[in-house]
Point group: C2
Chain length 199, copies 2
């Protein structure tokens, strides 16, 4: 079994986050036949690993083995220097069961202020994993550096996008045109690696 | 960059366990030019992940990025039904800083006896990861089922081999000829998957 993803292949996208699913579909340029984990009635495993790649792998493996199809999973988040990497792999969990990222961004601002550390450095990480049912898996990671921006700005994107300005830029990810964001984002960088390896 | 491991490629083997390094060399049949992490003066990362594949990936990634070479790492261990999977990813840690597997096997026998559960089922898992420097990684997992065998028998193999009898067999891994063990072991099964994917 060669490690290739052929055009038109059926892929389960193991995400229950509509924002991520939309971005993945956009980046994949209709190259594959995408099925969502939700459509297939697949559950979400608990994210027990300590890294983005570990959790992406866990989600892809679970979906591939449950569906018998090749599965693609994403695990991503925002890390900050002031909080020694937090929220990191806990980025989504900071938004609580209601996935309230307004709450998560307020919480982040409070924690950074309380830290007393005057370092606005932050970075988004995206890990992508592709798993074959009962077979191998491939993982890649992409990253973009930038600065925290409070108060949040912009209604586009999702998650922590409104509090992150990529290095050398002026607009936050929440203000940028999706096409511009997709050209430089951590997710785009991870996809470029995945594409080089598998497409 | 195609995900292939060509014959003669230089590979860092990210293990500091001489038993594993020997088995890996045997299984790889002199196909690659193997360098050890020890030879290159690479440190061992803390195994912070919650799964075999997660820890194998972490070790391969760390060695690849530190050396600039393709790295291969193994994470493996013995799981038992009576202890709900323990020692699992903690298999090596049960042997303590002196890597005393005699101690680990006595500890295992005590814990299984104390559990009061009359289920001797056990399985070895081997996760293998190959990481390209600053690039993708491939992971696979192999497993072999069997039964716990106390007291330990056999001087061959390493680790928990003397307390594990593969399903359908009579000899423990510690009693088997290395060639026989390598034909059926969890490590051999993981390698068969890796080979199908990358060689």
């Amino acid at each position: 079994m060669p490690l290739r993803l052929d055009r038109g292949a059926r892929l389960v996208v193991a995400t229950h986050n509509p924002g991520k699913a939309r971005e993945l579909a956009q980046i994949l340029e209709n190259r594959f036949q995408l099925l969502s984990a939700g459509e297939l009635g697949l559950g979400e495993p608990e994210e027990t690993e300590a890294s983005f790649v570990g959790n992406a792998l866990l989600k892809a493996r679970t979906a591939a083995d449950a569906s018998g199809l090749i599965a693609l999973a994403d695990d991503s988040g925002l890390s900050t220097s002031a909080l020694d990497g937090a929220p990191g792999i806990f980025s989504a969990r900071w938004a609580g069961p209601d996935k309230d990222f307004g709450l998560a961004m307020r919480h982040l601002e409070e924690r950074v202020t309380q830290s007393g550390r005057d370092d606005p450095s932050a970075w988004f990480t995206c890990a992508l994993a592709v798993a074959w049912p009962n077979g191998p898996a491939v993982v890649v990671e992409g990253r973009i550096d930038g600065t925290l921006t409070f108060p949040p700005r912009g209604e586009r994107g999702f998650g922590y996008d409104p509090v992150f300005t990529p290095a050398g830029g002026i607009l936050t990810f929440g203000e940028m045109d999706p096409t511009e964001k997709d050209a430089i984002s951590h997710r785009a960088r991870a996809f470029a690696k995945l594409k080089a390896a598998l497409f």
